[in-house]
Each structure stands twice: as C-alpha cells, then as structure tokens.
C-alpha cells in the first residue's frame, strides 16, 4: 500500500471519483472530481494532535461502528496517504466562535477550510476498472436476527474484533457484555446461493474466510466451542483443503444445514435451530455469539461506471468480460480491463492475479506507442451528397462535419468515427458508404438467405456487441430454440437501413427482427436511439401500406441475456407461424407498387 503512495509514476487521487469519460482506446479524456480533504496531504505528518482536541465524536466506518472517531481523523493507522481528513458534514466549522480547535493545535498549519473540490482532467490510453465489492447487508434475512440481536455480527465486523489493530486490540468480545464468548457459530452463504434473498451466485470467499476465522479462534482460544453451519464447504483452491482439514482436526464442528431460526436467550446468547442434513435431525445449538458469513455484492459505483464507459454487466451485476474463458480480463470495449471483484467475487490471490493480467494486457496495447484502428468507418460519396446535414446530426461521435449553408459535401473524420453506420442508414441520398458493412454486402446476404423457402425463415439483424453476443451466450449455455432464424451481423443496430427491412419483406421474409444493445448500453453512445426511431417510423409506414407492423420486431438483448435471446426466438417463431403465404404475397405486391425495392446504385432511393 505504501508503495502506491510514493511511486514516482503513480499519481494517487483519493476522495476522488471519475465523473466523465470521453474518447476511445488510446486516448480517453477522463474528468475526475477530487473532493477536498481540508488537510494538506503533503504537510500533514499524522501527529494526531488535531483529533485529540476535536469535540465531535462519530462512529468509525472502518470498524463498522464498533469504535468511534472524531470529525478530523485518519481512516486507519496504515492509511495511504497518511494525512488526516475532515468530514465537513460533521465538523462544527471554522468559525472560531464555534470551534476551530484543530486549526489552533496544528503546528504546521496544515488545516485549511478554504480548500475546495477540484475537477481534474487526465488523458489516458487505457483504463483498468477495479471498483471492488461491497459486503452483503443481512438486514433482510430477518430469521438470523442481525438487526434484533446485538451478538449477531457480520463476518467483516468479526474481522475487526479479532484484528490486533481493531477496536478491542484483537481480543474477541461479545458486544453485549464485553466478555470473551465461550462458544461461537458461523452461518455460511448469507446472501449467497439463494434464489429467494440476496444473490443466487456463490460468493467464492466466504467458506475459506470462515475456515480462516476458526483457525484464528482456535489459536487464541483453544477451548472455545466453534461451530460452522454450511450447505457445503468449497475449499477448491491451492492449500485450501489443508486449512479446512486442519480446522476440523482442531475440533471445529461443521454442521451441514443452514439454521431456520435464531432466537435470543436470557443471557443474550443465541439459540439456533437447524436441520442437520447429515444426521437427518432437527438440532438446537446454544451459542454465545453468531457470525454471518456475508456474501460479496457488486460495488455501488458499478452501474454509473458501466453507463459512462459503455460496458456491460452480467445478470449478477458484476462487469461482463469480453469472453468468459479466453478474455477474462478484457472488457468488450477496447482499451478497458477488469481487475478484482469488479468482474466477480474473488479472493486476494485471484484479485492480484487478475490485476497483474490487466496490467499486462494494458501494456500489450500501449507499448508500441501507437494504435491501429479498425478501418470499419464510414465514407461520404461526395457526388451524391447534398449537404443536408442529417449524418452530422445523427453521428454520436461528432465525427462528421458538413456546411449546410455553403452546401459543401460532408466529411468524415475517420479517427473519430467508431463505425456504427448510423449515418449510412440515415442518409436520404445513399451518399454514405459504411466500410465492411456496405448496402450491397448486406443486401446480398438477405437475398441469399431468402432464396429458398423464405416463408420458413426469420431474418434477424443483430449488433456485434450485445445481441449477437447474446446469441453466442445462448449457444454457450446450450439453450435450444427453433432453427428458423438467420442472423445478419452489423456493428450496431444503428446500421440497419430502412431499405434492408423493405428489401427483406419484398423478398418474402415473414418476420424481421432488429436487435441491439439496451437503451443506455449502446456501444456507440446513443446510436440505438436512432434505431428505435427508425423502426417506429417504418412500422407506421407498414401500417399505412397495409402490412401488419407486428412482422417487424425490435428487441434489446444484452451480451449476457442468452436466456432472453432464446425466449425471443421462440416468440418470433410463434409470430412467424401466423404469417400466411397469401399475406407474404400481398406484401410483395404492395412493395412492388411502392418505392425502391432494392437500391442497386447509390443515390437511387
């Protein structure tokens, strides 16, 4: 920890949050809000005189309220930076009449109430997301009595009580009578592996954390009666089984079953009722103290960051990696990497391993000092452009400039273009080519897929990042669905041109699906808003023409929603069955009378 504080290459910003990220791999512009500390980080020697005189006493968050601190304080003894910090919401203020006692005693004059929050801008090439975890709050699991009984603690509160640097200097005491308990029980899977309350996933660390705690207890209090209530002990890692057998050998009792109820006894001890599934009997255990092995939850910052960086989350709420097996460190967005519990619950060793991997992946990208960009960008065909400005309006990256007054053709800045293709889809004059996803390339795919028995097939457009990946996820999960669907991949759903849809119906597609990332999750900032508008517009046209608008479907499917993809495919197949051959032929007739079935040359809309 101290290395981070003094490393010449590391700029450490504490009390800080990322508030905005712009740009793309190689050059991200990051806005950071650094909240004021009110104590000079460089000058403060952490002598502690200020805290001695501070009259405000508050619960200490670091010890989960098991001890107290002042309004000016050091978060914990080994804090980096070591400088004290003032919580201004608690401080009585710098008006000398009111207080300012700390200012008076600080010899070095480090305290400055006029410090203000700073906004810092940094340009970086890569980003490592290591936002960590939050412990599960067991309040909702009322059967364990966490809020009702003082001697029921969470595993993290217990950690502070047995820590030599903690509020009791490492002496384990019961909160009610400050006496060392004679017996103690641990309940596993609190907030984990339950479809009912908490989360359904395994939190990975709680079994071994409890095993460790029992060893610590047996070392200090060999006669203490220690019991663990569990579903099964997951001691899968290197050296873990050794620790587990050592714990058993030292006399820790492992009882297979999670308690149904916990009641408080007259002496503030706890009576635990449990169905022991190893002996098939209902048992009652009287214990002086109970520890809930709480699970790991995604950190609260996850969602905001996900939106800011255009990342994806698994249904559990952790960040989704580019590939669960082969790219477990990369985000789907190039240049962004995950480390630690942000990506999923893990222990220290795995967090450190992933962090080193993330660093190596970032270096791999940066070491050349330049970056090769995908040439999948849009290009303007100058002779067809009428400088209407639509492309510039829809571009999420402001990558297109066009002078609508002078009527000079639009120009694409290829460095800024990310390749969503929205401009090409929105251009009313067919004056924009989207490289690698040109009209011809896509129309020929449609033709081929509808060449034989078109009435049996479902034409589906899927964006590369979310819905196509969601279909991949359905495959990895072996979710079976009707085999009628044929996917056409585009980088973004924003690429799906009206003419593609019209062409599909003209070639006898019974059902067409346009699918993309959920609104707010688009990989191209907000390009899918244009998808939504375009599909709505086309459905209205269909209604006017006398084509059932239900035949055009729009769905948002994230990369983690394999189940959703599969269920949508089932639903589409039901819709397909309702489309008769007569209806298909009628549509063809309608569209033949209407405008432009296929745009065979650019500009002939």
């Amino acid at each position: 920890m101290t290395d981070v504080g003094r490393h010449p290459r590391i700029k450490l910003l504490t009390l800080s949050e990322v508030v905005d990220v712009k740009g793309y791999v190689g050059n991200f512009d990051v806005k950071i809000l650094k909240k004021s500390r009110y104590v000079s980080e460089n000058e403060c020697t952490a002598c502690g005189e200020c805290a001695k005189v501070c009259p405000v006493v508050r619960p200490d968050e670091f010890n989960f309220g098991l001890s107290s601190r002042k309004a000016i304080y050091s978060p914990f003894p080994q804090a980096v930076p070591s400088a004290y910090v003032i919580n201004v919401n608690e401080c009585l203020g710098h008006n000398p009449v009111v207080c300012a006692k700390c200012v008076e005693v600080c010899d070095k004059g480090c305290i400055n109430f006029h410090m203000s929050d700073e906004e810092i801008t940094e340009r970086v090439g890569t980003i490592v997301v290591a936002t960590g975890m939050e412990p599960y709050d067991p309040t909702e699991l009322d059967e364990y009595g966490y809020t009702r009984f003082e001697n029921v603690l969470t595993s993290l509160e217990f950690e502070r009580l047995v820590n030599a640097g903690g509020p009791t200097r490492g002496r384990l005491v019961r909160p009610t009578d400050r006496r060392t308990p004679g017996s103690i029980g641990f309940i596993q899977c609190v907030g984990s592996r339950s479809a009912r309350k908490g989360a359904s996933y395994c939190s990975n660390v709680c079994c071994m954390n409890t095993v460790k705690s029992t060893l610590v207890l047996k070392e200090h209090y060999p006669d203490m009666d220690v019991k663990v209530f569990y579903i099964d002990i997951r001691a899968f890692g290197k050296g873990f089984e050794d620790l587990y057998t050592r714990s058993r050998r030292l006399g820790v009792k492992y009882i297979r079953g999670l308690p149904g109820t916990v009641e408080e006894r007259a002496d503030a001890g706890l009576r635990v009722a449990v169905e022991n599934s190893a002996t098939n009997s209902i048992e009652f255990h009287d214990l002086d103290m109970l520890v809930l092995a709480v699970g790991v939850k995604p950190s609260a910052a996850t969602q905001r960051l996900q939106e800011m960086l255009g990342l994806q989350l698994t249904p559990d709420g952790f960040f989704l990696e580019a590939h669960p097996k082969l790219q477990p460190v990369d985000a789907a967005t190039r240049g962004i990497f995950y480390a630690g519990c942000a990506e999923g619950p893990k222990d220290i060793k795995d967090s450190v391993t992933q962090a080193s991997a993330a660093a190596a992946r970032a270096i791999r990208l940066m070491h050349r000092g330049e970056i090769l960009t995908e040439p999948i960008t849009s290009e303007v065909i100058a002779e067809h452009c009428r400088a209407c400005g639509k492309c510039a309006e829809v571009c999420p990256y402001n990558a297109i400039t066009v002078d609508t007054k002078k009527k000079t053709p639009a120009v694409v800045n290829t460095a800024a273009c990310a390749g969503c293709g929205t401009c090409a889809a929105e251009c009313p004059f067919g004056a924009i080519t989207m490289n690698h996803f040109t009209d011809v390339q896509i129309l020929d795919q449609i033709d081929t897929l509808l060449e034989e028995d078109p009435q049996d097939k479902i034409l589906a457009f899927a964006c590369n990042w979310c819905s196509y990946a969601g279909a991949d996820y359905a495959g990895v999960s072996r979710l079976q669905y009707p085999p009628n669907v044929r996917l056409i991949r585009t980088m973004c759903s924003g690429r799906v041109d009206e003419s593609f849809i019209r062409h599909g119906f003209a070639r006898r597609a019974p059902i067409i699906l346009v699918s993309g990332c959920h609104i707010g999750d688009c990989h191209y900032i907000h390009a899918n808003h244009w998808t939504e508008k375009r599909v709505a517009r086309f459905r209205k046209k269909m209604e006017k023409l006398g084509i059932r608008p239900e035949r055009l479907q729009l769905e948002w499917i994230s990369a983690a929603e394999g189940t959703r993809f599969s269920s949508i495919m089932h639903r589409l197949e039901e819709l397909r069955k309702e489309v008769s051959l007569e209806e298909i032929e009628e549509t063809v007739r309608i569209l033949e009378n209407g405008a432009g079935v296929r745009r065979d040359s650019p500009g002939s809309e």
């Binding site: 981070v4 450490l12 910003l13 490592v128 967090s351 040439p375 690698h436 991949d472």
Partner: protein
C-alpha cells in the same frame, strides 16, 4: 475511398470455404460434408471443404496451402463465433498474403449446432444457409487498411483496493504512468479491513 460497382461484384472471385467440425461440437449435429458440398455449387466458390479443426495449426496450414495452390482471394470459415476467432483467421489470411478483411465467418457452433442439438436436419439446413450467406458477403468484401493513431502511454486505474493497487504498481514498475483514483480517503479497500488472510494466514496489509 471505396465505392462498390454492381457490375464487377461477383466476377472472377476465387472463394475458399472451410466448414469446421470443431471436433464433434459442430459435426455431431451438422452434416459438415453436406454443407461444404452445397456451398461448392455457388458461383465464385473455387474450393469448399470440411475440416476437423479450422483454428488448429494443421487446419490453418491446409487453408494457407489452398490459398497458394488455388489462387484463392477470399476465405469463408464456417466454424464458431467471429467474436472468438475472427482475429485468428484474419491473421491467417494475412500471413497467406491476403488482406485480412477479405475473410468472413459463418457461426455454425454458437448459433447453430449448440442451439439445435436435437434437430440435426434443420440444423444442417440452417448451416447451409449461414455459410451461403457468408459466401454472398465475402464476394462483396473489399480490402481495407487500418489507420495508425497516436496513443497516450498512461493508464487510469479506478479503485484503490488490492486489485487496483497491484495493477497500478505493475504498470508503474514497467515504466507506465498511472492515475489511481480512489473514492475513500485512503487506498486499501476491503482487504485493509481483514485480519489474517487465507491461505497463508498472515496479515492483509
């Protein structure tokens, strides 16, 4: 600047199509030989084969040999998701002297054999369609060149727990500048609150 002209779209292309068994992952459900035969009849297809593992060293080697021998100018690999192996096969065609963007993949595993395991006939029919669509697309692909852009050799690490600290130190020790952003007044995260840690049973800080 690339503008497609309809008239020269499909003339004189020499497409090679490789239908991958992926061991049994695809071949258990999809009749890969049949897919290759169906596609072989398409215009511009010079070679169409089924192969056990397209991504393996021998698999890639045989495709590269075909490119040289049959003067192939575009490749379709009908195997797994392009999200997995597109970079692999782009590299392969590039090393055989073709532009990496003259490659197209058909997803016969994630989007076909794995999701229609109980309907081998329908799955094969779909696989034929997906591969034919890939051929239709590859015929129209044009060579593209990536652009070289400057890059900032700095990393932002968000979060100062054990993972953030480790990543920041590894980067900094390798000579890269790091901005480490932590919400709390100190780094350390959850780890700093722990007493002893498994499996070594020593203290966390």
């Amino acid at each position: 600047m690339i503008v497609e002209k309809q008239e020269n779209r499909t003339t004189g292309r020499r497409v090679g199509v490789y239908v991958c068994h992926c061991g049994l992952n695809i071949a258990r459900t999809v009749d890969c030989r049949k897919v290759a035969e169906a596609v072989a009849e398409m215009e511009d297809v010079a070679v169409a084969r089924d192969i056990p593992y397209a991504c393996s060293e021998p698999g890639q080697h045989s495709i590269k040999e075909d490119i040289a021998e049959h003067r192939l100018d575009r490749i379709v690999v009908a195997s797994c998701s392009p999200r997995l192996h597109e970079p692999t096969f782009r590299q392969m065609v590039q090393s055989a002297g073709l532009n990496p963007y003259l490659l197209e993949m058909a997803n016969l595993r994630e989007h076909c054999s794995w999701v229609h395991m109980n309907e081998p006939e329908e799955a094969t029919r779909k696989a034929v369609d997906l591969t034919r669509m890939a051929v239709a697309r590859v015929r129209n692909l044009v060579p593209l060149e990536p652009e070289v852009l400057p890059l900032t050799k700095r990393t932002l690490v968000i979060g100062g727990g054990v993972a953030g600290i480790q990543a920041a130190l590894d980067l900094a020790d390798n000579g890269y500048d790091v901005v480490l952003v932590e919400k709390k007044p100190s780094v350390g995260g959850t780890m700093a609150k722990l007493d002893k840690t498994f499996p070594t049973m020593d203290c966390s800080i």
